[in-house]
Amino acid sequence: MNSLFWKIFITFWFALLLFTALSLTYTSHYLKKTRSEIDTSQPRIHLQNHIAEASRIAQSQGIDGVRKWLIKLDNEVAVPHLLIDENGKDLLNREVPNRIIRRINRRNARYDYFSDDNDQAENSNHDDHEHKRRTRHRPIIIDQMRYRLVPDHRSITLDRVLNRPKVITIPLIVATLISGIICFLLARYLTSPLSRLRAATSAMAKGNLDYRVAHTMGKRKDEIVELAIDFDNMATQLQKLLSSHKQLLRDASHELRSPLARLQVALGLAQKKSNGKIDKELSRIELETERLNELIGQLLSLARLETNTSEIQFEKINLATLLTEVVDDAQYEAVSKQKQVNLKNKVECQIKGNPMLLKSAIENVIRNAIRYTEENTSVDITMQTTDNNQMLIQIKDHGPGIEENMIDKIFEPFVRTSSARDRQSGGYGLGLTIAKRAISLHKGEITAKNNTQSGMSVLIQLPYMEANI
């Protein structure tokens, strides 16, 4: 019973059964009620009323009025009422069963035998029953023609009942409501966990591997819940694999440092003991050791950004102040290379972020720009707000620029462009990758483009909380 298959099967089956049963019960009840009216006095009063109304309409509106009234009556009640003239014909030209004609003839004969209509007053003290009988069968006079209104109880058919809107409306409404409610509940029951599952998959597609969905399913047990549990297991497994992969990168980078530290001390000892004989080679070894060290440092920063991101704490930062600090620092480095770093303008604004990460992100971009800008030129930095509450920081260098097809790739690890200069300088390394990671942790975006005149611009967009523009 817990499986989705049986749930759908049983619900539909039950709904259909309920619908059929209700319709049948209602119609049979209605038919029973109508038929039983033959034996009670209720329909006689109805009939008297109908006759009285017909006579009134006949007097005021003539035969056309009576015809209209008769059609209306026929639509309203389940029992067909025939209005038969002296020739045994129905006013609406419906077929008149023989038994009714026989009955009318029999009745006419009897009334003639008893008395004329004129004697009615004298005979009023007759048997009361007989009086009622007579008023009930009093003819309706239309254009000097005598008509008799006769209910034809035997002609009630299911088809006739179902064709009377007044009769069929209530069960139809009930059936619509009941089946509607059942189908609505079923549909919601089926789709609501599916939409939660969909939210989970799209969260995962966006890289949120922490999202779990099974606990939102409540107490149900069916194929959807099994799917949700399997989904969670898959996410856990994926997370494990990914984190062990990243952990490996982190551990490896970390472990590489111990031998490197020893290497550096050993190198120092060697430099002391060489007495200048192999100084050139040793300083080369020192340079390469330093490069290795730098690289491992970057790998570690990247690994740190990709592993324990949940531990990163966010706070309110003044972006202009932070940018100023980074630029001031970068200026020291730039001046030693006969280059400049200028913060062209400042827009006071608060953003939510981790100051350390943001600083390293912007610093990486600026240092990269310093590296590529020509001597005696400057790296220009501007801040501006965009329409969608984002702060746009532009870092513009005056260097050689970049090939158009490489523009998106410079944020990938260890990308090299084909220019000879780049080969010599060792490519973009990991700096921009680290920057991209850190910026995207702040829900920001980082892109690059070539300037119209010379060099390249890196654009950093960050959502801000408030700004004084």
């Binding site: 970390h254 440092r257 111990s258 490197l260 530290a261 020893r262 290497l263 550096q264 001390v265 050993a266 190198l267 120092g268 000892l269 002391k272 020192e286 330093e290 060290n293 440092g297 970057q298 570690l300 920063s301 100023t324 001031d328 620092d329 970068a330 200026q331 020291y332 480095e333 350390m356 390293s360 610093e363």
Partner: protein, 233 residues
Amino acid sequence: MNRILLADDDIELSDLLVEYLTGEDFVVDAAYDGKTALQLASANQYDLLILDVMMPHLNGFDVLRELRSTSSLPVLMLTARGDDVDNVVGLELGADDYLAKPCSPRVLVAHIRAILRRTDTTNTKQHQPSRSIELDDIVLDNQSRQVTVNNKLVMLTSTEYQVLEYLLEHAGSIVNKEALYEYALGRKISPYDRSLDMHVSNLRKKLGPLSNEIERIKTIRKVGYQYVRSTHE
């Protein structure tokens, strides 16, 4: 000859460093874990402790915290390169300086000498006349290297003392960041180095504001710092 205690759990690295530092005329003892380092530090008279952050049992921060409760022994922290948090935490706990590991032994020696130069009290006693600086509620005695605020003794690390001394000597005027850095840390300032800010921030915390709730040390952006005199002077 200066005595140095080296606390690092990498035995092979320690051996190499001991050899190198001995060659630079230091007397070096090595401890391979935090506990031993603390025991040796309290049992012997060292001029400097080189403390690695990453150690089993008691890590560098724990050692530093414990040490600072009893001693003002100059401490040079060896932190993991690129981990700025470590640097900040180290300085906050009262380290005199830090150095990212791995590093060239020459740089290490330069750092050691810088710290020793400014903490070598025997030297300063001989060469500098005994004098103390008094300003508002603060008294700095360069003989005993002790600082009191409102007659209450304030425990400062050697670096913090240097920073304060320089700022007080130039009280009221703006002090250039590079000069202060060189005076306090004994070496040239390098880009992206925020350690001076940390030391100043520690000083602010330890000294508290002036009696009229004004911060003693003002940051002058792009230039440096200024020790603020009480307005009534």
